[in-house]
């Protein structure tokens, strides 16, 4: 498959696990922020290991500043022990779960199609043979970013939009009705 360095994969795995923990621990803001900070640190290390240099640093510095803002305002606004919110209604939970699963399935399909279709390899071959970005064709490059997957990406976009709209319709109103 890929021959990426093992430390990069391990650090990325750690970052993903910490990001998942940051979401799962959401009922306790302090734990959530701590896991998010750990995730950002691991991501920064992974980007440095990947040789991205300044780009990774810019992304990580801005992300850390933003997380600091959220932490500051969160501690001002929220009881840090837990968020005291009642459980979500069943129809809303079902709609959100469906949207979430559909999004995950779509992402997996896109990645599989990109891997099997050789999108990475094609881009790599063009990059090794000549300058891959022709200044005269930047517009067409942006339009054709998904290459042969453009149709699939469009369908996925429509599916995600419809799911999010369905989720929005299932939100409760001020009287607690759906």
């Amino acid at each position: 498959m890929t021959e990426a360095p093992l430390p990069l994969i391990v650090v990325l795995g750690l970052a993903l696990a910490c990001a998942f923990a940051a979401i799962v621990f959401g009922k306790n803001l302090t734990r959530s922020i701590a896991a998010a900070l750990l995730s950002l640190g691991a991501l920064g290390l992974a980007l440095l290991l990947a040789g991205t240099g300044l780009l990774g640093l810019i992304l990580m510095i801005l992300s850390t500043l933003t997380l600091g803002l959220i932490q500051l305002f969160g501690w001002m606004l929220v009881d840090v022990d837990r968020d005291h919110l009642p459980p979500t209604d069943r129809p809303t939970s079902v709609a959100r779960s469906m949207a979430f699963l559909l999004l995950g399935g779509g992402l997996v399909l896109l990645l599989l199609a990109a891997h099997d279709g050789g999108e990475f390899t094609v881009a790599l071959q063009s990059a090794t043979s000549q300058p891959s970005v022709d200044p005269n064709q930047i517009g067409s490059l942006a339009l054709g970013l998904f290459g042969s997957l453009a149709d699939l990406a469009t369908l996925l976009g429509f599916a995600i939009a419809s799911c999010l709209l369905a989720t929005l319709l299932l939100l409760q109103d001020d009287e607690g009705k759906n």
């Binding site: 890929t2 990001a19 780009l55 992300s63 305002f73 992402l107 997996v108 790599l124 090794t128 200044p135």
Partner: protein, 115 residues
Amino acid sequence: MAESNGDVASVLVMAAAVLFWIAMLGLLWRRSLVGMLIGILIGWISVGMVAIGFGLLHQTGIGAEVDRGTAMGGALVFCVSVVGCLQIAIGLGVVVSRIRSRGTLDADDAGLLEG
């Protein structure tokens, strides 16, 4: 170098897809507005990672003074980061305003746009 770039880029893009999925988990299942903001933050980091992978994948590696692929990736990362920061800043303003007016962080309680 180029092959290694391709491998690293593909790993970054796959990790970014998983990260985006986790971010959507935060947006869809967390009801606290602050938790949702953390989900948005993770989401735009994942998009930035895709942009970085794009830059790596399109590096020419021919010794050009300014590599166009890296420059395009950098421009994308910069745009995504600035828009993400502004989005969080505006979101925090909305959260503060909502807490002052309603006294709750529950996103499900915000149904004023419905119907």
